[in-house]
Amino acid sequence: MGDDKERKYTTVSIPVQLYEKIKERIEGTGFTSVSDYVTYVLREVLASLEEEEKEEVFSKEEEEKVKERLRALGYLD
């Protein structure tokens, strides 16, 4: 079952004109294929969307317990 252990790929469609434009743009850059470039850009876009999600929240009780230890160790006054 060797195939299961590799990254799997699928196909998405983009307009031919866009494909050609990207092909031209990546010439002489570190990107070796349009697929590589598209993957990179999509990861970047998705990550920036995730960045806007709310940060971790802790319960009041947990937060108090943590602050108590931080004060005991001198990290907080």
Binding site: E6, R43, E50, E63, V66
Partner: protein, 384 residues
């Protein structure tokens, strides 16, 4: 705003007290394997989310993808395998199979339970070549890899008890650093990785980065190191002396990261960044030859690798060499000072160690005298 943990959620695999008591009562019925100190501290790291999103030791799928693509199965960037190895013969004797629960213990300490989900062969040479970019046994990471068992065990863990931690007072978990940063009002935090006592080059790298963010998180790696490295308590005491005299108290936090140095250069630099993101850092300092050893890596390989990860979720900050310049009258770096040769005094780690080893205080342009004095106060400041 502080970043979310890597992969989206801060992992918590610490067993609750009631279950821990129950398990401890049944402990003699659970098949157990003896683990090393390195594995024991990494179990603690997994449990408290330092290695989020990992919830245990890697399955074969994750392991293969990390070797080949530097990503986990869910496409999240990850560069260093976190695995549990075992000797195949020993494993056969225990007659274990997938689905079994294992006790991972260190001496008398029951460190964690693991649900055995996956077991697979380790190809030591391939592992070394992909992680360390070399199979040369003089590389400490390769040397360790060649001594690993030939079988890898994957599965989620539940943490029960840590091994002794001589630096508990300096140990903060991601939940704690995140709450601390919030309390200090920091919205942007730069992380600094180190395995050294601080010289002026380190100080100026940190302060240059700190100029543009709210806070600095100094996070030395404490654990197995090479002969000749500074001892752990020396690093901590030296930093305390430095922070006390030369930093704003509300701008710098010092706590430790307990894990072994892998010396995997570029791959380890990304791993170090991910760990600091889990502690709540928005930025991470990557200097010259980060996590390197000998001349196995190019001086800026560890900076270049970040170009492959547009979705890391922490911003790397790259620095070149910092040094004192007689012509510029101050601490400068290669980006801003045009001078060289006799005009500059670079703080050489080797030279500083040599001077300290012979009981001398290094020049002021290299190390703060207060820091040097603290180091010289130790009978033997270096790992033997």
């Amino acid at each position: 705003m502080l970043p979310r943990a890597h992969g989206g959620t801060l992992v918590d695999r610490v067993m609750d007290e009631t279950r821990r008591k129950k398990i401890k009562g049944e402990i003699s019925d659970i098949p157990s394997i003896e683990i090393s100190d390195d594995i024991a501290v990494d179990l603690e790291n997994i449990a408290y989310g330092v290695f989020s999103p990992l919830e245990g030791f890697m399955s074969e799928n994750d392991y293969r993808l990390v070797l080949d693509t530097m990503r986990l199965e869910n496409d999240v960037p990850w560069t260093i395998p976190v695995v549990l190895d075992m000797n195949g013969e020993e494993f056969l004797k225990m007659e274990l199979r997938a689905g079994d629960t294992l006790l991972l213990k260190r001496g008398k300490t029951p460190v964690a339970l693991m649900e055995l989900e996956d077991l697979f062969k380790l190809d030591r040479k391939e592992h070394a070549l992909k992680v360390f970019r070399t199979s040369d046994p003089s590389h400490p990471g390769v040397k360790k890899t060649l001594s690993m068992g030939d079988l890898l065990l994957g599965g989620k863990i539940e943490f029960m008890e840590g091994i002794e931690n001589p630096f508990e007072r300096y140990t903060l978990r991601p939940v704690e650093t995140r709450i601390l940063f919030k309390e200090l009002g920091w919205r942007t935090v730069v992380g600094f990785q180190t395995r050294n006592a601080p010289h002026l080059g380190h100080e100026y790298v940190q302060k240059t980065a700190l100029t543009f963010v709210d806070g600095l998180f100094i996070n030395p790696v404490i654990g197995r190191k090479k002969k000749g490295d500074f001892r752990d308590e020396v690093i901590l005491k030296a930093y305390e002396a430095l922070i006390d005299r030369y930093y704003l108290k509300e701008k710098a936090v010092l706590s430790i990261l307990r894990t072994e140095m892998r010396y995997a250069g570029p791959r380890e630099a990304v791993f170090h960044a991910i760990v600091r993101k889990n502690f709540g850092c928005t930025h991470f300092i990557v200097g010259r030859d980060h996590a390197g050893v000998g001349d196995f890596y190019g001086p800026y390989d560890a900076q270049e690798i970040f170009g492959e990860f547009p979705d890391l979720g922490i911003t790397p900050v790259f620095f070149r060499r910092f040094y004192y310049c007689k012509k510029c009258y101050g601490y400068v770096n290669e980006h801003v000072c045009p001078h060289e040769g006799d005009d500059i005094i670079p703080p050489s780690g080797t030279k500083i160690r040599e001077m300290l080893a012979s009981g001398k205080i290094p020049p002021r342009e290299m190390m703060r005298p207060e820091v040097a004095e603290i180091i010289l106060g130790f009978k033997n400041p270096f790992v033997e």
